[in-house]
Amino acid sequence: MSSNVIEITGLARRFGAVQALDGVNLRVPQGSIYGFLGPNGAGKTTTIRVLLGLLRPQAGEVRLLGHPIPAQRLAALRRVGTLVESPSLYPHLTGYENLELVRRMIHATPAQVQRALSIVGLDAPRDAHRPVRGYSQGMRQRLGIALALLPVPELLILDEPTNGLDPAGIHEMRELIRRMPGQEGVTVFLSSHLLGEIEQLATQIGIIDHGRIIFEGPAEQLQASYRDEAILVTDRAAEAQQLLAASGWKSSYNGNGHVTVGVNGSADVAMLNRRLVEGGIPVYGLHMAQPSLEDIFLTLTGKPRIVPQPTIFPERSLL
């Protein structure tokens, strides 16, 4: 079997006039935490629904744990745990009964129910045996994860798992996801529009926008493919930019005396500083900055990048 637990090739799906997925290609390596990133409406949930056989593809090939989807959907789903958007829970039943219900459907053992409750920290009787309608949002989300973990899956598909959680709940959820591959041997396919979430957890990243994959690879590869930047602070920005351009450096003015310069490592920064000083340009500050995943994401998706505007110099002094 291939070492990829998910393989999608040329997947297309249209809803009326909207092309939701347009030739999606995706590979999820076994044992990874795969961050599936994209803005709202990019096609993340549609991709997941096709993976689970909830939607039919109009073109392309989908393989889940080696099984073609939708032809061998049931064989694949036996080895997969899912949480698609908000958890589907029955509020009139207790947390335990919600798990028991799914246990009966998948023919799992009662011990698996206890294990799932224990992993998400809902095994105390006061939590497990009260109706879900009395649960907080965080507890519901954890119960949703417990439902996904119930079959002891090889692959966990989580769609926006931190939706509606407070900061403490988000932290707890991240820790839970982080330890999945190591402790439980589970590959995690994590879909989110939250960059911070993906940045902190993912070992592999796929970025989708307008139904197309615009990047796929290891998280480090994504960041390494972008050059470092130096942020220069001066009160003679225009002259500094002219001088830098003459020496082959590309720069952009961010306002308030801040100029961003594309550089190749720290030696390049030292050379840039010497050039400016030799050219009589006062340098009040100079530091290197690695572009964040957010910067890269915005660049890839063609969204405007908003640079923070520090107020070191009054705007008028530069005009």
Binding site: R49, L52, G53, L54, L55, R56, L74, A75, L77, R78, T82, V84, E85, S86, P87, S88, L89, Y90, P91, H92, L93, E97, E100, L101, V102, R104, M105, I106, H107, P131, L147, P151
Partner: protein, 251 residues
């Protein structure tokens, strides 16, 4: 069959603490209450014998012609709403179970709830007669209860109701709006009050099939046509529902 059994086991648990389960007892109890009030108010009919049959026939008119079609509409709406309201279709259909089994389990549970309410109805009629006998011994409800006749009427009425059970279940699952499901049932039932008076159309109209079958069985008349329509129609719609569930997408 293992898949159906698993789905059925899950559906049974899902009924716990639901209004649908409570209504299976409350609906026939309300008919019993009406019968007791009506008979206690009017007193024993003069010069008539066989008071059990009078009570049973009045009970079946109220139950199978008026209450049952509304009750089925409501029950199917409530059962489907357990899934619609909690956006649970994506959970159900992402399980390693064939979708036809999930639908067939819902169909079985629906029929089970209707069978339960009918059994409760029979018990309620018996207890109503016994209570009336205590209130006024002139009622003569101390005579033997006609279990054979009532069992036949109840069985054929239950089987003939399958068509609207299957239809309302499919409609309620297909159309997430609870109001729309109720509207269809109300229109069907109100029209039934008129259609039942027609000898030509009464035995063929889906919402009168249970009532016509029960009353014909009680009177010793033939119920074959209404029973055949109810059972074959119910089976056909149930099978179509399984097929529809298998190919349906969950958006």
């Amino acid at each position: 069959m293992k898949s159906l059994w698993r789905a059925l086991s899950a559906e049974t648990l899902k009924l716990k603490r639901t209004l649908a389960l409570g209504l299976a007892f409350l609906a026939p109890l309300s008919i019993g209450f009406l019968l007791v009030v009506m008979y206690a108010e009017q007193g024993p009919p003069d010069g008539q014998t066989g008071h059990w049959m009078s009570l049973i026939q009045n009970g079946y008119v109220l139950w199978s012609l008026l209450m049952l079609p509304f009750f089925i509409t409501l029950q199917m709406g409530l059962l489907a709403n357990i899934e619609h309201g909690n956006k649970a279709w994506k959970l159900l259909y992402a399980q390693p179970l064939p979708r036809w089994a999930v639908y067939a389990a819902k169909q079985t549970i629906s029929l089970g709830l209707i069978a339960l309410s009918m059994a409760v109805f029979v018990a309620v009629m018996f207890l109503a007669g016994r209570l009336l006998q205590r209130i006024n011994p002139a009622f003569r409800f101390d005579q033997p209860f006609p279990w054979d006749t009532v069992a036949l009427a109840t069985t054929v009425s239950f089987l003939a109701s399958w068509l609207i059970v299957a239809f309302h279940l499919w409609f309620s699952i297909r159309v997430p709006s609870f109001v729309a499901a109720m509207a269809v049932g109300v229109v069907g039932t109100v029209a039934a009050v008129l259609v039942i008076q027609s000898e030509k159309y009464g035995p063929y109209y889906p919402w009168t099939l249970a009532g016509v079958s029960a009353l014909n069985a009680l009177h010793g008349d033939s119920f074959a046509i209404s029973l055949a329509i109810g059972v074959t129609g119910g089976l056909a719609i149930a099978l179509l529902g399984c097929w529809d569930a298998s190919r349906r997408e969950v958006l």
